[in-house]
Symmetry: C2
Subunit: 344 residues, 2 copies
């Protein structure tokens, strides 16, 4: 049996407040690159690209204080979405050499239940890393959140926060493809430029330079907002509620501005949802995995023809994992934060 | 032409904070009991029963600070839902002697556009005042909010706040008829007794005697809440968000606890809607007027057979209007607050 070194990114202990690089550790363990005899429901993976996602912050909490009922295990590797190559399969649906996308561990090699695989990667004429983004969960999140939860109509006014992020950059493009007017907010000039010049947003602004978010939204939406694609929560949400139109919809994808606060900010304008008949709806992508084939059919031609673009922020090497993951909570990343473990 | 005295309840000026009786005034004006020549879209009404409703508080605000884009006009009579008798009609759909339900003014006689009439009262074997409650807008509000917005399933867990109020007492009864488990909250022992002994709530509690609303909800809903019928907002909503089940729904009918605050309380637990995929949806009954015939067909047999009950709090005489209306914001009323102008 071949036992090899297996570098891992582990969580030292549950985190409260802002996560720091020192909350994570790089350790070297070992793994036997062989599936245990008779295990017909596991696969052995070589991990290639790992996805750094905001929801992972909630999994660092002690589960008793968390939004999520799940949590990472202290002193064990993180887990998250990733692109991996099958080295050996105990499961009939997969074989050596397959490229797969699913929930894997933050380490070089992983032995995981085959049930954690979400799909097999069939199209390799596009960058493999895209399966952690535009062709993976963030892509499906944007698609399901905007089209299924947001129920957009042509000509409607759409606002997206964290608009250059892994999901936001796609929501803006989908909104334009659907014939909507779309405005995005982000936290740096560089990101605002991307929104306008790369992703096709009609308008964009830096929320850090707006002392009055309500006034900013009134400026960009004199007639109000039909759909607010919610990624951040907090003050932005409160200002949005003042600017929604009748029968507006707020698909709630995330509230990244709140995840590191021990006490979340209070939202004071909720009563506006009554007269305006607003629907605020939380969703998670796992409820929409069945739409993945339909989504892929929609998005692949756009990617191939350059009609949908995607900006990634690539960190090279598992050692960069702690910085890459922690960075997304202060907006260090420009575009989708990807961690490369190996390039095949 | 017969000119008669016409007592009115007028709003002195826009209100901020808690409304007081002194914000309203009783004045004696006059009215000519004759429709102006050639007016074929108005009706002349004798008002019988007026409805005291929480949404009226928002109409007392200066519209620039209000949730509603509409507002009462200072120095003019209030307007609201009521049961009236047609004295003369310029409109072909109505004739002298008809009993109608619609938006009328807080005065003895009103000349209003026929378009403000919502329906003609056809069934008079039930108390006429019921058309301001169980057979009127509150009834339709409970019906549409619970069945259409709440989309209940048999066996689900339902929580109702302001549960003995005009709408709440019906939501509880509808939930029981639908095979749900239902718990209500109210603000006095008398109301809690009504919930359990009159309206058939499975359980009920006095929120004023619960120092920890989260703990109270955990006691009554160890497995969580599927539907929260929201009438009050504020701390109750925040505690409910901690206790919702996955795919739960919150039809938002009102937030009466907030209407008299110049700054609404902050809701801090909204992020729970993401993992739990909660839908929070504001609604107003005007969007459901088309369901009234269907609703009446459903509710009338229940009323006649005593399978649906309704508790009214009756104030006699237009002079009692200010006290009756102001009282609902401190929970003085027990059941639906009705103001009798005349009994026919």
């Amino acid at each position: 049996m071949s036992e090899v070194k297996n570098k891992q990114v582990i969580l030292k202990d549950y985190v409260s407040g802002f996560p720091k690089e020192s909350d994570l550790n790089i350790i070297s363990s070992t793994i036997t690159l062989k599936i245990p005899e008779g295990s017909n429901d596991v696969v052995l993976l070589k991990n290639l690209y790992l996805s750094c996602d905001p929801y992972m912050r909630n999994l660092m909490n002690n589960p008793k204080d968390s939004l999520s009922s799940r949590a990472f295990t202290p002193q064990s590797p993180l887990a998250g979405y990733g692109v991996s190559k099958v080295l050996e399969s105990g499961h009939k649906d997969y074989k050596e050499g397959d490229l797969v996308y699913g929930v894997t561990n933050w380490e070089e090699y992983s032995l995981i239940p085959a049930a954690q695989i979400i799909f097999k990667i069939e199209h390799t004429d596009v960058p493999l890393s895209y399966y952690t983004g535009i062709l993976g969960t963030p892509g499906l999140t944007a698609y399901a959140g905007f089209f299924e939860v947001g129920t957009p109509k042509k000509g409607e006014n759409v606002f997206v926060s964290a608009a250059s992020g892994a999901v936001g950059q796609l929501v803006g493009q989908f909104a334009k493809l659907h014939g909507c007017y779309v405005v995005g907010s982000a936290g740096t000039k560089e990101k605002v430029d991307l929104l306008k010049n790369k992703f096709g947003y009609d308008e964009a602004f830096n929320y850090k330079e707006e002392p009055d978010l309500n006034a900013a939204l009134k400026r960009y939406f004199p007639e109000g907002i039909d759909i607010y694609f919610e990624n951040v929560g907090g003050k932005t949400l409160d200002a949005v509620l003042l600017n929604m139109r009748i029968h507006g919809r707020i698909p709630v994808c995330g509230m990244i501005s709140q995840y590191n606060l021990t006490q979340h900010e209070g939202i004071t304008n909720l009563a506006h949802i009554i007269y305006k008949r607003i629907r605020i709806q939380g969703f998670i992508v796992a409820d929409f995995h069945h739409l993945y084939p339909k989504f892929l059919e929609f998005i692949l031609p756009h990617v191939r023809e350059g009609k949908a673009v995607y900006v990634e922020d690539i960190a090279e090497g598992l050692e960069k994992g702690p910085a890459a993951l922690v960075g997304i909570f202060s907006g260090q990343n420009v575009g989708k934060q990807v961690l490369v473990v190996a390039r095949e």
